[in-house]
Symmetry: C2
Subunit: 298 residues, 2 copies
């Protein structure tokens, strides 16, 4: 089987089902895992997987369709954005490497610039300079500020013209590690406790380097939650995140009542948990029965 990549393409339409459907259907030759639209953000994230060639081709096809159907001059939404297709991260899966994901980003950037005349900034692992690594920096000024930004010698695009596409703006294309959105539910309705725990576990305020965290209230269940992104779940396994939250919750005499992973769970998360809690020695992916069954049949 060809090496697999995930692509979580963000485009600037979260209301019109007709436009959303047309863009998602433009992705051929890949497996669409999820489509998440937010009307307030007026934005959709379509997540799909496939080979390097297929994920790049699908991103190009979606962008070509977005150039037809989305005009950024009339776009309004709560989320920062600078283009019809706003952000395209490539994520290496399984045996695929970060270098190969960076290569996907560069290939797509080249095609968007050359064939669609869209200026492209490479970001995160694909960034061409340190100040372009952080997506927030790349996107600062948004669609409305693009003309000035692209004219700044410091912000020449990595591909495409040094002026915005008249309707599609600009696109950030990058490569990053698979991240896991992980939420831990607490046996309390006091959101202040979740917020205090979030501060102890997240990188920004002294916690774990790979964790971003917020304390939030889940009204429907009347419980407080530590809502997290684990930006490198391979270096920082979920058991460490959970046990750190549990450790801090003890300060308040509060139990952990459950946890949830938003989206798909990498097998490595399950293997790490089995190594840690079941103490299984020499546990690797190829020891899992289903990995042999499924892979051997491809």
């Amino acid at each position: 089987m060809a090496k697999q990549f995930e692509c979580a393409l963000n485009f600037s339409e979260g209301k019109s089902q007709q436009v959303i459907r047309a863009l998602v259907q433009a992705a051929r030759g890949v497996t669409v895992l999820n489509v998440a639209s937010d009307p307030d953000h007026n934005r959709t994230v379509v997540t799909y997987v496939g080979s390097a060639e297929a994920t790049v081709a699908a991103a190009f096809q979606i962008t070509a369709k977005a150039v037809e159907l989305i005009d950024m001059n009339s776009h309004r939404g709560a989320h920062p954005r600078m283009g019809a297709v706003d952000v395209v991260p490539f994520v290496p899966l399984g045996a695929a490497t970060m270098d190969e994901a960076i290569n996907c980003a560069r290939q797509l950037g080249q095609r968007l610039g050359d064939e669609l005349q869209i200026p492209v900034y490479l970001y995160e692992e694909a960034a061409s300079s340190p100040q372009r690594k952080n997506l927030a920096n790349v996107r600062r000024g948004e669609f409305e500020g693009l003309g000035a930004k692209l004219a700044d010698p410091l912000w020449r695009p990595d591909f495409g013209p040094a002026h915005p596409h008249p309707t599609a703006g600009a696109t950030a294309v990058g490569a990053r590690i698979y991240l896991v959105a992980y939420n831990v539910n607490l046996g309390t309705s006091d959101v202040a406790i979740a917020q205090a725990i979030a501060r102890t576990v997240r990188a920004k305020t002294g916690g774990l380097q790979d964790v971003k965290a917020l304390g939030v209230m889940i009204q429907a269940r009347n419980l407080a939650q530590v809502s997290m992104n684990v930006v490198n779940p391979f270096r920082t396994p979920l058991y460490r995140v959970l046990e750190t939250v549990r450790m801090e919750a003890k300060l308040y005499g509060i139990p952990v009542v459950g946890s949830e992973v938003v989206g798909l769970i990498p097998l490595s998360v399950l293997l790490d948990a089995a190594r840690y809690y079941l103490q299984i020695e020499d546990l690797t992916e190829d020891r899992v029965l289903e990995s042999r069954l499924w892979k051997d049949k491809t």
Copy 2:
């Protein structure tokens, strides 16, 4: 993808690499996962997976080759045996059902009887009567006692002639649940402690219904081990087995230093552990990224 079955075929040759290789190579159209030969037992277990049709066909092909190459009249070995191909269990995997595995056993039995004139006993889940469920009962008397056994009206074969095949004897064909061989290593070199713990966790002496257990000494690591078979790891998850061993080990002030699964680990074991220890809610196989990647490509 067609439903998958595992077959762990036992044949009566554990020394001659030439014979072993010829028999394993007779299995076409399936994925061979493991070949384990024991010279003292003079016996080999070949484990393979495939569709119902393929696993049955491969078992027939191996048996036809065994009729050519193995003569039970000159076979000696420590392990009880009654045939050139001695035991053939079919195990349903994933979405496959026990009824379908039983069907595989019956189809193979029919073909071995009709086409190779080998008497066949169905055992375990495929057994035609309660006294044939237990393989030890079916095999009692071994190859040398087969003539008398097959002539006994209580022990008429389920397929094939009521007399032994002159060189290949008889074959037991069955269906069973996937079992997991699970060993827990203790932080002690006192094998008596492992034996005492084994008695508390196994069904035979009052423990868990699905657990068989022995206390053994692992000389190479100078530690005592509780060596177990979990005969229904879907009903009795490994976390329950491990935590029960750990609970008993505390009586002696002994820690669990590690564990091991012999062979392949069903994904359900990892999912059960993540549900229990990581407390992930709503965790199912289709939430695992790799299950989507691998399956979607087949």
